[in-house]
Amino acid sequence: MLNFTLRRLLIAVPTLFLIGTASFFLMRAAPGGPFDNEADLEPQVLENIRAAYDLDKPLMEQFVIYLGKALQGDFGPSLVYKDFSVTELVAIGLPVSAKLGFTAMLLALLVGVAAGIVAALRQNRFIDHAIMAMAMTGIAVPSFVVAPLLALFFGLYLSLLPVAGWNDGAWQNMILPVIALALPQVAIIARLMRGGMLEILQSNFVRTARAKGLNETRVICKHVLRPALVPLVGYLGPALAGIMTGSLVIELIFNLPGIGRYFVQGALNRDYPLVLGVVIIYAALIIFLNLLSDLAYAGLDPRVRKSYR
């Protein structure tokens, strides 16, 4: 198991290198540049700025310079947010997004898993149909509809919670964005959990467990739940990475200083170092969380554990 983990971490290095390289050249291949939005710069001024950021050098040379600095942990200055380095922007934005995302996922797991189990145990009854209808709604209604509605109702109409803002992560400010982030995840998790349960409930070994005379609670807890979690675990890794690196929509609507908006703004403004920095962090998170989810598989299923030697 330790070997497996180390091997996977080792493979992550070339993977990250490839992702970084591809993003670097793709960004440069896109038309436009970081200073196109500045109003009518003198050609000489533009020339000076480009030289200051090494943008006048041949592309390969820029790549080597970037790589050299990145290996030392310096992802360069942001070209648009003046006076901020990429590392600083990430240090400001990532904790906000990660805190929101992680809380939302935790909530989604609690509610989604419970709803999925109840739906599966009452298959085709009223409660099952109700849960699945809500789940379909949760998947179908986009967050740019849900988030303003939440703000409108709880913020303006009931005046219970702040409409927007971060306020250093006070819990009152977190409630609405966390709910808006969690809703679609609840829906997906509930569906995955229900599907996993229904499949396992039909299997021969559950019939064996019942034939032993075990009561239903024990059958579910000891024989059904663990194998039924497997489809969910595969989804959780990438989903957590996605939700922790921020959602542009939620961050814009609730005016939160997360990393999602930097990413999108960076891409629109051709802020090369910022986009690259965020892409590499996102990739590293995905790789790491996928590893965690593979380790969780091994925890659930001894057959997988054995294949990890």
Partner: protein
Amino acid sequence: MTVLLECENLAVTFDIDQGQINAVQDLSLTLSSGECLGVVGESGSGKSQSFLAMLGLLARNGRASGSVKFRGEEILAANRRRLNELRGSRLAIIFQDALSGLTPTMRVGEQLAEALRCHEAVDSAQARARAIEMMEIVNIPDAANRFSAYPFELSGGQRQRIMIAMAMICRPDVVIADEPTTALDVTVQAQILRLLDGFRRHTETALVMITHDLAVVAGLCDRVMIMYAGRPVEMAPTATLFDRPCHPYTIGLLKSMPTLRNDPAADLPVIAGQPPDMRKPPPGCAFAERCALAEERCREERPQLRQVGGSQQVACHLVSA
């Protein structure tokens, strides 16, 4: 010999999208202690479903009606709690596919011990000791270590032995073996059958052997019930059945068995045709379509199971008492 299981007019139906399937009908039988009953029929003849129904193990869309009594107590309508008390401790079942029949995420020893612990007041050390003892009885080598093995770490034969040990660990009165050897190769088959037979002889357990292999029946069972299209068509002591089969279906089955006297060059005789569609069962004898002797009456009127000779029962119009 005490009567353990009495089953009267058992019927099993499944609700499906296009209506209903009558998987089992008019099944009546008794089973006494120490007896071995063979139940023979092709796939879909209802042989497994009838016994699953007796233990309340039908799939969600299945329903059973009629009467099943265990030691005089009606169990078909029993509540879940009473059923759980009986299942595993008094009435045990061995399923055919031991690979999918054991929980893949649980150690086999725990699965064994669990069967004991839910019926008897033993602590975990005692349960563990009994589980290992059972594993030794069913000839699992190095049982103490194999206790913590997972199902995928055992061979097919060993998994089937675990299933048998699991069924036997509470010394049940009735054991239903649902094709326990179909998934195994022939040499392992023989060992498993010997094991089951040994158990029955030592413990006075009644054994129901569900199979489509007549050779298994001949070697093991006292009595045989032949099922076709959800109904018993013939029931007789094993020797009588092989000497003097009455139902044309039974005769066909026996003829299609390879023996040492068969001409190796000749094709084995087969029963032509298919069993009827269970969604639209014919009004008369279900076997009439495939029966060379069928008359007008066979297609119109369903034959009832009736006594011929001393201990033989047949459902066929053409057999005279």
